[in-house]
């Protein structure tokens, strides 16, 4: 079964090629069948392969499949080869399952769009790239997938390309992530030069053997990789692209900008765990990035009017949790939160997509309202998603994963109180904005007419994801509930287990810590009820108060990052480009030409046609030479 590994990425690739080649000749139905079908088959292949992997793990708890040698230069021989272990299994399953559901959803969501075929072409390419990313057995191939998903992200954000604003958002996403990619590729150069290979497992072993813990080279390498992760996963300081990325269709936001691509950074760090284990400073940087991001984005999410932007900031914030977990050596906690987040965030976006579609493209949550009765299925599933996001205790997967993440920030050797407090605060904010959306969108009176209701291809994925958003949490129950943690056991085969060795480890692992979170969550829900439930008008006064208003505006604009970058990076480059557009060097060239022309003008004016001036010139020359002769 494991030998079918290559089929998992190959099927969407085949779908992509078919869609490109056949293009118009396929009708909408054909495109839908190929687009969704290829991913569905890929999902089946993934289920088969991963199933067999889980049931009967191969020797060494990993398997590698090399298709061909990519290139062979100077001892550098990266392969087109795939590597499957527990970490990649988690990602592959999420990608293919969520991917298929979203494809299915899209066949209905996009049914009237003129770029229907193009949409599935891009989407298939994305799934292929994402699978390559997580299956790659070497960093170069990983980078291929990495850039591939970046491309698809750009293409899909800019999918409705008639509106220049959408295209701008796509470009922004691509360019900002590429800044991070520059760091990543520099890291690749460093690793290649120092360790002589990019094949991940030998590379990690070599790093462990040759690099002393906390040596500069290890820290630099880890930081460069973090740079890549920060870009792709929309972390501070490169988070600014993701809110704008919501210009794309909702399924895209769900698949790419919530469930899968944006977690590539998490995957990358998890994949290169041994490197980060060697580099304590880099881990600290990771943790700081995570905590700062989750707070900044959380507060921004609190004040958004645009449903999808709010979710986008929430995504940034939740990935911040994952990164934070990785930073405090809670590797498995990060992966767990990725898994749960993928389901509930995809669910939220798909729900949001239905809502927006139903309201004829309305994004502003304050123009929605009262949808609980008009779109009951969406209401129920969306609320499940929001509850999971808010970590509603016991019944949602978000509770278990976030609880684990927060515990690790206190419980591991890398953890500390500040991180813990920060993450608790983040959890509180998360609860606030999650339920703010529920209250504002689904309750109160309707501001906009519902013009369309979802059919089964849209509702079915919602229900499936809602179910996943509940049950996947039970894969890893905390110790104080019961000793059921198959996911942890599974991840232990590939990642270092969480070591509860921190100063407050005992408390962190206990029910007491969980109780704090439970308290926070309920408190948050209650406060959000007070603030935003539509029939409580008093809150508007609060929102309009002179203290809150500027703060809200600041948060709404994403803490001024865009403002700053515009002035520090974008404008200077634009200014220089505009100033130099006729090529500065050409001024030199023109200058030389001008000198020649001036020479011509002068000399030519000397050709007066008068005989005596000719004689004079000759005489002058002779006299000059004779003078030299005599005086020398």
């Amino acid at each position: 079964m494991l030998s079918l590994l290559w089929l998992i990425p190959a099927l969407p690739a085949a779908g992509f090629v078919l869609l490109v080649l056949l293009n118009r000749r396929l009708g909408r139905a054909g495109a839908a069948w190929i687009g969704a079908g290829s991913v569905g088959l890929s999902m089946l292949a993934a289920l088969l392969v991963c199933g067999s992997f889980i049931v009967s793990p191969p020797a060494g708890d990993a398997c590698r499949q090399v298709l061909w040698t990519w290139m062979d230069v100077a001892g550098f021989t990266p392969a087109i080869g795939f590597y499957l272990d527990a970490v990649s299994v988690v990602w592959v399953l999420v990608i293919t399952v969520v991917g298929f559901l979203i494809h299915l959803y899209s066949t209905e969501h996009m049914e009237h769009d003129e770029g229907f075929t193009r949409f599935f072409t891009y989407l298939n390419l994305f799934v292929f790239s994402m699978l390559v990313l997580v299956l790659a057995d070497n960093l170069l191939l990983l980078y291929l997938g990495w850039e591939g998903v970046g491309l698809c992200s750009y293409l899909l954000i800019a999918f409705w390309q008639k509106d220049p604003q959408n295209v701008y958002s796509g470009r922004k996403a691509f360019i900002v992530t590429r800044v991070g990619d520059t760091a990543l590729i520099a890291g690749l150069f460093l690793l290649l030069t120092q360790l002589g290979t990019l094949e991940i497992q030998p590379l990690l072993r070599a790093a462990e053997q040759t690099w002393a813990p906390d040596s500069t080279v290890a820290v630099v390498a880890a930081l460069l990789i973090l740079g890549g992760a920060v870009g792709k996963s929309a972390q501070v300081p490169l988070q600014t692209w993701l809110p704008d990325a919501m210009a794309g269709p909702s399924p895209v936001s769900a698949l790419i900008h919530a469930a899968t691509m944006v977690t590539a950074g998490v995957y990358l760090i998890a994949r290169t765990t041994p490197l980060f284990e060697l580099a304590g400073d880099a881990r600290l940087a990771v943790a700081l990035v995570g905590i700062v991001t989750l707070l900044i984005a959380g507060f921004s999410a609190l004040v958004q009017h645009d449903l999808k932007r709010a979710l986008a900031y929430s995504t940034i914030s939740q990935i911040g949790y994952m990164i934070l977990a990785l930073g405090v050596s809670g590797w498995e906690a990060g992966v767990f939160h990725f898994g749960t987040h993928a389901f509930f965030k995809a669910l939220l976006f798909l729900g949001a997509g239905v809502v927006i579609e139903a309201l004829a493209g309305e994004h502003d949550i304050f123009k929605m309202g009262g949808l609980a009765r008009k779109l009951p299925a969406v209401f129920v599933t969306f609320t499940v998603g929001a509850a999971a996001l808010a970590a509603l205790p016991f019944v949602t997967n978000g509770f278990y994963s976030k609880d684990l993440v927060i515990s690790t920030t206190l419980g591991t050797a890398d953890g500390n109180v500040w991180l813990y407090v920060g993450s608790i605060l983040g959890a509180f904010v998360t609860t606030l904005y999650s339920f703010r959306l529920v209250w504002v969108v689904f309750f109160g009176e309707a501001h906009t007419e519902v013009t369309r209701r979802p059919r089964w291809r849209q509702t079915m994925p919602l229900w499936v994801l809602a179910v996943f958003s509940i049950i996947t949490g039970f894969l890893w129950l905390p110790a104080w509930i019961g000793a059921f943690h198959p996911l942890e056991d599974f991840l232990d085969t590939a990642l270092p287990p969480i070591e509860w060795t921190g100063r407050y480890a005992h408390f962190a692992e206990s029910a007491g810590a969980a109780f704090v979170i439970i308290l926070i969550v309920y408190g948050g829900i209650f406060l959000s009820y007070l603030l935003w439930v539509p029939w409580r008008r008093g809150t508007h006064a609060f929102a309009a108060s002179p203290v809150v208003r500027p703060l809200a505006a600041f948060w709404l604009g994403g803490w001024g990052f865009d403002w700053l970058y515009e002035r520090v990076f974008v404008r200077p480059v634009k200014w220089f480009a505009h100033w130099a557009r006729h090529d500065l060097v050409d001024y030199v060239v023109d200058g030389i030409a001008w000198v020649n022309l001036a020479g011509w003008r002068t000399l030519s004016a000397g050709q007066t046609g008068r005989l005596r001036s000719y004689v004079a010139v000759a005489g002058f020359g002779v006299v000059l030479v004779l003078a030299v002769v005599v005086l020398r």
Partner: protein, 486 residues
């Protein structure tokens, strides 16, 4: 110092030219026949060319102290005669359109060639001076031959006065040299140059001598006449002035002043360096935006003589090879260039405005193609002799480590590209900004089949030896090897 029959046989090329000149003169006295004059002229030139082989078969020798018929002299006499023959062929169609009798033209042409040939073989001040003056005086007549053209008269006056004045410099210089050395032979001058030291009078003499040579070569600062004379003279005569008179003098320069290059610190050397550099710069710059084709060619010839001086100043046989080959290339190219002008010229004026050449590529494809090859050769582009010529000159200059001159050569020859390609563009490219009434197209020149076929031969020559120059290089190598290289 008796002259034997053998000596006469050796100088038979010169005699042939003399006899031909007399014959044409006499013939013209009896029959006013253009064809006859042309025939005799060509016959004379052919005889001169043919007798070269007779002379070549004999051991090289001095015929009196005045001339020396060695391989070097023979090469140049052959070159001059061939060039003269080409000019004659171009003149046929051109002179037919003249409003004056054409016969005496050929007399002057033959005597001028005789003067040039004498210069090439000269080893003595007397023959030097005689040859130069025969050449000059004949040229006065040739330049002003179309007496009814105001430009021709103006050109002739300028040439006459300047030539006369520089002749005076020349003779005065000769006198000074003679006063210091007591000898007037080339060998004596060479010795003088080699051991010049700081003999002020002799150096002054040499410099004045060089004035005369410099004028004929039209190098800076004696170049001012060139554009006016080129423009004013009839096109075939211009071709002649540009080639034969310069080539002959350059041949002489090599024979008399070879050792100049052996002392790179001497005043004469420095003066010549300055002249070379100034010629390259001024020649190329002056042509830059010039609109008269003949003037462009005039200015470009100044630059080319500058290049030649670089080769001259580089010592050694490699320099001789460069000079010889470049001169041949320059002859062929220049003759073809003015040949094109000749062929295109209507009866009343010469086709020398750049506007005359606009769209030539479609109107007269063959002359246009020839002119293109010519211009590329002047620019030193591959597949033409000009390329090999430039290459041998750079080789010579680099071999002698004359870096300043080589760099100037490189830089200025690039300026050359600008105006050569400007002409090419004019012939082939339709300008979109030509909205106004286009320049009146040149009236079709009558006849010209002969001229065009000669052009074809010249082009072939340029191309064949541009790709496979080995035979010519051998020939020149052999010729220059007889010079007394230091």
């Amino acid at each position: 110092m008796t002259v034997t029959w053998g000596d006469l046989l050796t100088v038979s090329p010169l005699i042939a030219l003399t006899l031909a000149a007399v014959a044409v003169m006499l013939a013209a006295a009896f029959f006013r026949s253009h064809a006859l004059a042309l025939g005799i002229t060509l016959g004379g030139l052919a005889a001169a060319f043919g007798t070269l082989f007779v002379a070549a078969s004999r051991a090289e020798r001095d015929v009196t102290p005045l001339v020396r018929m060695d391989a070097y002299a023979l090469l140049f006499i052959g070159l001059l005669a061939a060039a003269a023959a080409v000019v004659v062929l171009f003149s046929w169609g051109y002179l037919d359109r003249f409003r004056v009798h054409p016969e005496e033209y050929y007399v002057l042409l033959l005597t001028a060639t005789l003067g040039g040939a004498t210069l090439a073989a000269s080893t003595h001040f007397a023959s030097f001076f005689l040859g130069l003056e025969i050449l000059s005086v004949s040229l006065y007549g040739l330049i002003v031959y179309a007496v009814y053209r105001d430009e021709a008269v103006e050109a002739a006056v300028k040439y006459l006065v300047l030539a006369g004045a520089t002749s005076a410099f020349l003779v005065f210089g000769m006198a000074l040299v003679y006063a210091q050395t007591g000898t007037m032979t080339a060998a004596g001058v060479s010795d003088l140059v080699a051991g010049l030291g700081d003999d002020v009078v002799a150096t002054i003499g040499l410099v004045m001598l060089l004035v005369g040579i410099g004028f004929k070569l039209a190098v800076v600062p004696f170049h001012m006449w060139t554009p006016d004379v080129y423009e004013g003279a009839p096109a075939p005569v211009t071709a002649y002035v540009a080639t034969v008179s310069k080539g002959a003098v350059f041949a002489l320069l090599l024979r008399f002043l070879l050792p100049v290059s052996s002392d790179q610190g001497s005043t004469v050397f420095l003066a010549l360096t300055a002249v070379a550099i100034a010629s390259m710069v001024a020649g190329n710059l002056l042509a830059l935006r010039q609109d008269n084709v003949k003037r462009i060619l005039a200015y470009s010839s100044i630059a080319h003589l500058g290049y030649l001086l670089v080769a001259f100043l580089a010592t050694g046989e490699r320099a001789g090879l460069a000079v010889g080959f470049y001169l041949i290339a320059y002859f062929a190219t220049t003759l073809a260039a003015f040949g094109v002008v000749t062929v295109l010229s209507p009866p009343d004026r010469d086709a020398d405005r750049i506007d005359d050449y606009r769209g030539l590529g479609s109107r007269r494809p063959v002359p246009a193609a020839v002119f293109t090859v010519v211009l590329l050769s002047l620019a030193g582009m591959p597949l033409t002799m000009g390329f090999i010529g430039k290459f041998v000159i750079v080789t010579a200059g680099s071999g002698a480590a004359l870096w300043a001159m080589v760099i100037v050569l490189v830089a200025t020859s690039t300026i050359g590209l600008y105006y050569y390609t400007r002409l090419i563009v004019a012939m082939y490219v339709r300008r979109r900004d030509e909205a106004g009434p286009a320049a009146t197209p040149l009236p079709a020149a009558p006849g010209g089949t002969l001229g065009v076929s000669v052009l074809g031969v010249l082009t072939l020559f340029l191309l064949v030896f541009g790709v496979y120059p080995q035979p010519l290089l051998r020939l020149v190598e052999h010729a220059v090897s007889v010079l007394p290289w230091p």
